[in-house]
Symmetry: C2
Subunit: 280 residues, 2 copies
């Protein structure tokens, strides 16, 4: 199997590493707009070779798009134009409704299956690519029913090879639930970093005290705006909805502190502890 990865960053690069190592891909071809990324991808053996998009697509069985969701909307239909009826395409972006609308009526829609491997770190680019990133994590397939049977089978196998458990959402569900669980975590973390940077002018104090929990809460604030701004653009309404709820929860804590109502505050912490049962 020859796999082309378009966008050799954290996700694309890590997929390339494991698909080769775990024997799913005989060859991995890399495509990237950025010259530096191409150099690193070859130096770090993320891919076997670098080609331009059209040549790479013409030589591949499977094409994986791992680029920011703003570019996905224009690139995805172009890729479907390029492939034959035997080739298969997936994209691994973080928003789905707008991206999938761009190929709604495409004659080769069946050769495509959208996926969202729920894995990552706060780092980005090809230097962030690592083995085993996806192991034991969850991959979401979106609107699977529009894909051909052999496409479904192949991509289920691909993500299983990466060590992932596959589930199915429709695109509306996907964008809603990722806003609720993933996107709000990033907004919260970006805001927490700004809060601490605004209040704590003595940066060595941040460094000294960070192991009291701040480090993990603010980890996502290291994430790239190039990846996240298009996500917030495409999923704005769902993000606004959950952000409102989050501000309300914080305002409730604020009000309880002002009123010194620590009894209610205690119950709310106990309620938030319920997250233990869900996340183990």
């Amino acid at each position: 199997m020859i796999v082309t990865v378009v966008g050799i960053g954290l996700i694309g690069g890590s997929m390339a590493l494991d698909l080769k190592k775990r024997g799913f891909a005989d060859q991995v071809i890399g495509v990237d707009k950025n010259e530096e990324n191409k150099k690193i991808a070859l130096q770090n053996n993320l891919v076997d070779k670098i080609l331009d998009l059209e040549t790479a697509v013409s030589q591949s069985d499977i094409i994986v798009l791992a680029i920011p969701v703003g570019s996905m909307v224009t690139l995805l239909p172009n890729i479907l134009d390029l492939i034959t009826e035997k080739q298969m395409v997936t994209e691994v972006g973080s928003t789905k409704e707008i991206v999938l609308k761009s190929i709604d009526n495409h004659p080769k829609r069946g050769r495509f299956l959208s996926s969202h491997p729920m894995a990552g770190t706060e780092f980005s680019g090809p230097t962030a690519a690592v083995y085993n990133l996806f192991e034991d994590k969850c991959n979401v397939f979106i609107d699977e029913k529009y894909s051909d049977a052999d496409v479904i089978t192949t991509f289920h196998k691909l993500f299983n090879v990466l060590g992932m458990n596959n589930v199915n959402y429709n695109s509306e569900e996907h964008d809603l639930h990722t806003a609720y669980v993933s996107h709000i975590s990033h907004i919260s973390s970006f805001a927490l970093a700004l809060t601490v940077l605004a209040k704590e002018k003595k940066h060595n104090r941040i460094f000294e005290l960070a192991s009291g929990g701040f480090g993990s809460t603010v980890r996502l604030a290291k994430s790239s705006p190039d990846m996240w701004i298009p996500i917030f653009e495409q999923n704005r309404d769902n993000v606004l909805d959950v952000l409102d709820e989050h501000i309300n929860q914080l305002a409730q804590f604020r009000s309880l502190l002002i009123k010194k109502d620590f009894k209610t505050f205690y119950s709310l912490i106990e309620e938030s502890n319920q997250i233990k049962k869900i996340l183990k």
Copy 2:
């Protein structure tokens, strides 16, 4: 050296383990109000024996208080009443101004040095105690100038043995900076858990999507209200101050989403990325 640890939870238990293993303590005596904790502390070899408070203190060179800060205010003066001029006491609580005021004019104030080892996990109780919890982390001494020279030397050595780097704050600085860096992270995490629990009624969705970053951001929401409510009570004003700033930062994101001003949003994410430089 014989060390008594009062409160054999995550911090007290982990200190007991390492002080014994690393040869600082010849014997570690445990004191705890909770019968179940005492049993676990002995079963898991956290301590060599369990005694009642007065007997333990009378047999010890050093007494470490690792109990919630609400109880610290009353227990600390009692312990200073009990000790001789040769014994030494530290407490490792998360707030300092109110606790230290309780022994301001105590005749044995010099035998005491307040410390705050900045280490922990979201878990609590003796089952959460682990080796090497403090390695390469920062310990804050508070108002060191009020302690006797031999007390300062001994506790510097104790925390160095645990692998920690020692720094000095005064109590006012301590409570301000821990509110800015540590306490707000916990409030943020409790609120995020409540947000997601309120919006996301399908709990299996949370489980499936949590590895997209939510897991680490919400980790602290597993923390115990018994530990955190007294901290928020004692450090209320500083926490309110930084919480206001945090709500304002989130409200700014909200406003930018409403106005679709993604250019300013991009700059703010870039600004929050500065945290990378501080935390490495």
